[in-house]
């Protein structure tokens, strides 16, 4: 992966954690945010955060989706803005917790909320600032017209690109030169943006947005924040981030199997990826290589079987026999939970391009180990296996997997690099099916 969204709570927590190093002396930020999860004991909150009893509150879901105001998912008033007490917030969160909603066609349950003090301010004080790492350099977006209508007012947003190799002086000069006219206290705003840019760079953010941003003198109120971190920079900036989790997108909570493979992947030098698309699907992919796995998926869809595509995934970078076995077992476990509704055997495509350095015999040994363990279950649900692979020791690997499957009584067809990579998909899904129905 690379760019990963983080929760608003974490965006603010990291900002507070590093405040002194980047904004100290010049600006003040009174970090008061609480993350509420299904495990949070709401009755203990006033004890841990006494301020919830002393100030009006705002509560909203914190689950990587935006436009919460427009969705009616921000609690900032009961009767009039700024009258939300802790009891109100608690009641509202209890009501909303677990509620199923739909965002851009994706259904999911509300599970995470953020609670903060209500900051009274006027709409004219709502500024906007955003930064993003792009192909051309760092793009900074600045506007005096922040808030929920920023997209409607996009023509008033000033955009400046900082070349990637620009020095600090050059970057600051570009920022100063591009502060929007409409901003009242340009000096303070510019100073804040300059510091924020340094912070953005040092902490390897891929995207950082504060909207609205309210500045009252030297007091900073980032009322809403959206951020994505480059998770590969963990080794550079991990200490500045503190303990961080990268939640899956809304409605895309990882299944236990996906989670298991993700953990396996994180521990390994090799790459192991699994996404379950349709657990009831008929076509299962066990593909080596980031590129090849996409091509196989494309081909399944091209042939009209996208609805039957059960999973997307790949293993690559020369995984060990044990890692491969664990990966394949997870897949077999999912695959053998039920028969396909049509009654037809499931199709398992063990595919891949011609490997550069992954030892095909070794990884296939891992697949065979898993096959032996799941042979009975695989037979029970019915499965047809199609193999195509090339690379170091592929002849040995192909011969072994063929022999193993035949001994276990699993129908298998095996092909090497002389066969076009995706030809087995057509053979499995079209040719053999036709032959079957004809006979």
């Amino acid at each position: 992966m690379a760019q990963r969204g983080i929760r608003e709570f974490d965006a603010k927590r990291i900002l507070a954690k590093n405040w002194n190093d980047y904004f100290g002396g010049e600006f003040e930020y009174d970090f008061k945010s609480i993350l509420i999860t299904p495990e949070t004991d709401l009755d203990k909150i006033p004890e841990e955060h006494p301020w919830v009893k002393e100030t009006a509150l705002v509560a909203k879901p914190d689950m990587l989706f935006g436009k919460r105001g427009k969705l009616g998912l921000v609690l900032y008033k009961v009767n009039t803005p700024g009258d939300v007490t802790w009891e109100d917030a608690k009641k509202w969160i209890k009501e909303k917790m677990g509620e199923e909603i739909e965002i851009k066609g994706v259904k999911g349950k509300l599970t995470h909320f953020i609670v903060e003090p209500f900051i009274p301010h006027e709409q004219k004080d709502e500024y906007y600032v955003a930064m993003t790492l792009s192909d051309q350099g760092d793009k900074i977006f600045m506007s005096a017209f922040g808030g929920i209508d920023v997209e409607e007012n996009w023509d008033k947003v000033r955009e400046v690109t900082i070349p990637i190799l620009a020095s600090e002086e050059e970057a600051f000069k570009l920022i100063e030169e591009n502060i929007p006219e409409e901003i009242e206290d340009k000096k303070t705003y510019a100073e804040f943006v300059k510091r924020l840019y340094k912070y953005f760079k040092d902490l390897h953010f891929a995207y950082l947005e504060i909207n609205p941003l309210v500045l009252k003198g030297n007091k900073v109120f980032p009322l809403d924040m959206v951020a994505r971190l480059d998770d590969t920079a963990q080794f550079v900036a991990g200490r500045k981030w503190g303990e961080i989790t990268f939640p899956a997108g809304f409605g895309r909570e990882l299944t236990p199997e996906e989670k298991y493979i993700k953990e396996l992947d994180e521990k390994s030098g090799a790459s192991l990826k699994l996404t379950i698309l349709n657990p009831e699907g008929r076509v299962w992919l066990l593909i080596a290589g980031g590129g090849a796995s996409v091509v196989y998926s494309d081909t399944v869809a091209d042939l009209g079987f996208v609805k039957e595509l059960a999973n997307y995934g790949e293993y690559s970078g020369n995984p060990s026999r044990t890692e491969t076995r664990e990966y394949v077992k997870t897949l077999f476990d999912l695959m053998t939970r039920q028969k396909h509704k049509s009654g037809k055997p499931k199709i398992l495509i063990i595919g891949g391009a011609i490997a550069n350095f992954t030892d095909v015999a070794k990884t296939f040994d891992g697949i065979i180990d898993a096959m032996k363990e799941y042979a009975d279950k695989l037979k029970e649900v019915g499965v047809k296996i199609y193999v195509r692979r090339g690379g170091p020791n592929y002849e040995i690997g192909l011969a072994r997997i063929k022999k193993a499957a035949e001994e276990l009584g699993l129908p298998i067809e095996v092909y090497g690099p002389e066969t076009h990579m995706t030809a087995i998909v057509k053979k499995a899904l079209v040719d053999d099916e036709k032959a079957e129905s004809a006979s």
Partner: protein
């Protein structure tokens, strides 16, 4: 440099390889040998290595490649190298690249590491561009200039390289993101056309150091390249640059293009398909949109990946018919010596071994003692004596024998600081030597006069009993024939009336637990004869241990011959060496703790009789 600027590599290209990755380096050298060029790697950079050279094969002969601590040092010694193959990890690759870009002699850097932060990738790219240098990668297998130069593992096995015709130039310029598909397409091109001139995998990250267009423009200038193939991916906008170049006439040679990841549209952009860079942020970044744009720009775009081979074949045949491509005469390929380990793994070669080991094995997932994994040894509560049984005698001893061995080790562990071994240990430790040296001096005193009695007692008592000598006869034999005291008989203070408690314990234990104690019984008969002569000529602790060990092995089913061999091999003495080492170490640690100064023996304790030799 003599080569035209559109060429990054030719048959004379020399490279510095960063990171001592023996497999990848050997693969590059094998490729050099295969295509009949001189070794391409002239230096290796490995900051933590202490070695100055590493050996590699070039064909069947071995060559030395120098290892340097820094890229700077390597580049100074080898200004002829203009390529850096950067195999550093994702933590180090950025720093290595930024440094190497400042070295004037280095022009091209290939970076394999996956997981380099995007900001770093952009910085590397921008710096390289500003200096007119080239970066291939990160997160790539690299590429191949057919018949000239191979980056790292690109192309896979040598067999695949020949099959995919990567060992001699054809007519196609290839650029892909993925390394696996680079290999795959080389193969497809070899089967449906005449192979590639050059192929580059730009890597799967969002911001590759050089992109599709950069390489296609080089191919456009390269007269050897007759047509080009680009395999793009969902995500990013790099392919649009290619479409524009085709539309604007910057690229005039035929381009076959395909973007993979058409699947993504079915899942609303929510699923990450493929590489880190492969996620469409907008409609424009989808595979379908890019394929359409390329098609409109004039690229040859198939209906699907499945149709690529046919399209390639069509373009090739057409160019051949026009006479732009001529038949290639296939070069002769030298036989590449097979790697011994690989052949052995395949069961195709054998060699007599020089060593045999029958007690332990460290090759599997966990080392074993005589077939038993160490974890099992711990989990099942094996004692030290049980481990001795496994490693010295390849047996799982019954409890009575293990407990006896345990007792023996406890009994022989120490005998005070005055005995020669412990004394030596202390003197050496006080000379400021390390534990190992002090222990070695102590152990080296063990022999016929110090600690050797266990062996000796076992040997002579056993011999006497086996030959059927009666005890009196044996005592006489030792006096008259062997002319030496009976080992294991006699004690400085202990006597029949004042028995040695340790001996009593051993005897009682053996009487109670040993299936048989015939040798002990015999030795006790001998003792009767010797103590009749003199009170203190008792069977001492060494003698008792010696004969009881014979009894033990007898009861464990060892033959007389086997026991004699054990004694001969020093196995009995080994119990003393092992046990007493515990004491020796104690004495050494004691000295270290006390910090006593160098020991010097007092003059008045030495009788000096030194006379000048008579003059001739």
């Amino acid at each position: 440099m003599a080569k035209p600027s559109y060429l990054l590599f030719d048959r004379n290209t020399k490279a510095i390889f960063w990171n001592l990755n023996p497999n990848a380096i050997q693969r590059m050298l094998d490729y050099d040998y295969l295509v009949g060029r001189s070794p391409s790697i002239v230096a290796i950079v490995a900051p933590t290595q202490t070695r100055k050279f590493e050996k590699f094969f070039y064909g069947t002969s071995e060559i030395l490649i120098p290892i340097y601590r820094s890229t700077q040092e390597a580049a100074e010694a080898h200004p002829e190298a203009d390529v850096l193959v950067n195999f550093a990890s994702f933590r180090t690759a950025y720093k290595v690249t930024m440094e190497a870009l400042d070295i004037p002699t280095i022009r091209t850097i290939a970076i394999t590491a996956e997981g380099i932060p995007e900001r770093f990738a952009l910085e590397m790219r921008e710096k390289a561009k500003s200096l007119g240098k080239w970066i291939i990668g990160p997160a790539t297998v690299g590429g191949i200039s057919a018949g000239a130069f191979r980056i790292g593992n690109a192309g896979g096995t040598l067999q695949n390289i020949v099959n995919a015709k990567l060992h001699r130039p054809g007519s196609v310029g290839l650029v892909t993101r993925s390394g696996g598909l680079f290999n795959e397409l080389s193969n497809v091109i070899a089967r449906n056309a005449d192979g590639i001139v050059e192929g580059i995998a730009i890597g799967g990250d969002r911001f590759p150091g050089s992109d599709f267009l950069d390489h296609l423009l080089r191919f456009q200038e390269n007269p050897q390249v007759k047509f080009m193939i680009m395999l793009g991916e969902v995500g990013g906008e790099l392919e649009y640059k290619v479409a524009e170049a085709i539309a604007s006439g910057k690229i005039t040679k035929p381009v076959i293009a395909w973007c993979i990841g058409t699947i993504a549209k079915h899942f609303g952009g929510e699923v990450q398909f493929g590489h880190a860079g492969a996620k469409a942020g907008a409609e424009r970044e989808t595979a379908d949109a890019k394929n359409q744009a390329l098609r409109e720009a004039g690229a040859l775009v198939p209906k699907s990946f499945n149709d690529l081979p046919e399209l390639i074949k069509g373009v090739y045949e057409e160019l051949k018919a026009k006479g732009e491509i001529t038949e290639i005469e296939e070069p002769e390929v030298p036989p590449i010596p097979e790697d011994y380990n690989k052949l052995r793994a395949q069961g195709r070669v054998r060699r007599p071994s020089h060593f045999v080991c029958t007690i332990s094995d460290d090759r599997g997932e966990e080392a074993t003692y005589c077939g038993i994994p160490i974890s099992e040894v711990v989990e099942k509560g094996y004692s030290i004596a049980d481990v001795i049984g496994l490693l010295w005698f390849k047996r799982k001893f019954p409890k009575w024998a293990s407990d006896f061995i345990d007792m023996v080790i406890k009994i022989v562990a120490d005998h005070g600081p005055a005995v020669s071994g412990a004394h030596n240990a202390r003197v050496t430790a006080r000379a400021g030597k390390d534990l190992m040296s002090a222990l070695a001096t102590a152990i080296l005193t063990i022999g016929p006069r110090f600690g050797g009695a266990i062996d000796g007692a076992a040997k002579y008592f056993k011999m006497a009993k086996d030959k059927g000598m009666d005890p009196y006869e044996f005592v006489e034999y030792m006096k008259n024939v062997e002319k030496k005291n009976i080992p294991g008989i006699g004690h400085r203070i202990k006597s029949v009336k004042n028995p040695d408690k340790r001996v009593e314990l051993l005897k009682n234990y053996a009487k109670k637990h040993f299936p048989s104690t015939e040798y002990l019984d015999y030795a006790l008969e001998v003792e009767k004869v010797t103590t009749a002569k003199k009170e203190n000529l008792i069977l001492n602790v060494d003698g008792t241990i010696g004969v009881l060990l014979v009894d033990m092995f007898k009861a464990l089913g060892y033959s007389d011959k086997e026991i004699d061999e054990l004694i001969e091999a020093g196995a009995f003495n080994a119990f003393f060496v092992l046990g007493r080492s515990i004491g020796f170490i104690g004495h050494i640690l004691d000295e270290k703790r006390l910090g006593m100064p160098l020991y010097r023996h007092p003059w008045d304790d030495i009788l000096y009789i030194v006379e000048r030799p008579e003059e001739e």
